[in-house]
Amino acid sequence: MPDSEMTTNLYLFARGEQEASPVKPEALLVERICCGDDEAFSEFYRMFAPMVHGIVLARVSRNDVDDIIQEVFISAYRNFSSLRDKNAVGGWLAMIARNRATEFFRQSKPTEELAEDVSQNGSSLARAHEILSAIRCCPDAYRETLVLRLVEGMTGPEIAERTGLTPESVRVNLHRGMKLLREKLGIGVRS
């Protein structure tokens, strides 16, 4: 290690800071949003809406998901100034989504979700509801990762990047969650 680099690291260590990490694209978007760029907010929304959708869908009824997504993004927009590490905006947004969903779940009365198009494609939708209900019965960490993977179609690395979780924990959650889901759906038993 060159002397200058070592000196820099020592200096950063003494100040209690880590070596400066590269700025992520979402951090640049946040900077632009803070400067009043509305287009940047639309880009930010497109980037993170699937993740927020997955997190919320793992907790609340499908009919209420859209409203909660809107609330989450408006809340994020209002509080961007309080975000210290712009690189961690994904984890921060995921936390807002979890809190909103939990809050909504607490306030709402227990209802039974009914499939929209029971008459059309009844069997496939019923199957989808069955799978989603089974996912929702899993522990928090598993169901969130499973929804992001199976419903939103995100890969493991994408889930880790968006939610701010480590790739290792996402991988573990996926593996264990899938195992649990198979047991719940009886897939393992059949095969």
């Binding site: 509305d38 497109r46 408006i74 989603l132 199976l150 419903v151 593996h175 899938m178």
Partner: protein, 193 residues
């Protein structure tokens, strides 16, 4: 179950693909971003600006109250000390007694504060044992109008003396009134009416 497919979609796994296809119905459908609230940042800025404005106004008002109340308490003391100093700093000089009016200031002499007065009285009436109880009554000398032509220096000294006497007499009056605690007429004329 193909773990690699589950992790990063490499390879294939019919079971997971079946689940994905079934759950596709719930996938997020792209929608427009929510309408952004009208510049919350500027609202926050205005709030903080208003806060600082009110804080400064309040601090200024508090400081003004403190200064005024302090001045109200301290100023009388300063005033009295200044007038004492003014009396003591009056230069002692022998005035041409014929040119100045005779002034009897009984209380002043009793309290032994104004040295000028005492000296002038002593010089004018050295053997006087009893002083008339007159407070700051000035008498001019009508018989000697020609002697009233004073030089600039004499006039200055005269003015200084008059100033010292007026300060002393007013101060002594205050002291006397305070000691006696009696409401009396304020002016000499009223008192002797």
């Amino acid at each position: 179950m193909n773990d690699e497919y589950l992790w990063n979609k490499t390879g294939s796994d019919a079971e997971i693909e079946g689940l994905e296809n079934a759950l596709k119905a719930f996938r997020y459908r792209e929608a427009a971003a929510p309408r952004i609230p009208v510049r919350p940042a500027s609202i926050k800025e205005n709030r903080s600006r208003n806060f600082w404005r009110f804080s400064f106004a309040f601090a200024f008002a508090a400081a003004a109250v403190v200064v005024l109340s302090g001045a109200w308490v301290i100023l009388p003391a300063i005033d009295s000390s200044i007038s004492d100093r003014a009396v003591n700093e009056v230069p002692l000089q022998k005035l041409p007694l014929a040119d100045i009016p005779i002034i009897y200031t009984a209380t002043a002499i009793k309290n032994s504060q104004p040295k000028v007065i005492r000296e002038s009285v002593k010089i004018r009436q050295p053997d006087q044992t009893k002083i008339r109880p007159v407070l700051a009554v000035a008498k001019s000398l009508p018989n000697e109008p020609s002697h009233l032509q004073l030089t600039a220096e004499e006039k200055y000294a005269y003015d200084q003396l008059m100033l010292a006497l007026s300060i002393t007499s007013s101060k002594l009056k205050i002291v006397k009134d305070t000691v006696s605690q009696i409401d009396k007429p304020n002016t000499v004329v009223e008192r002797y009416r």
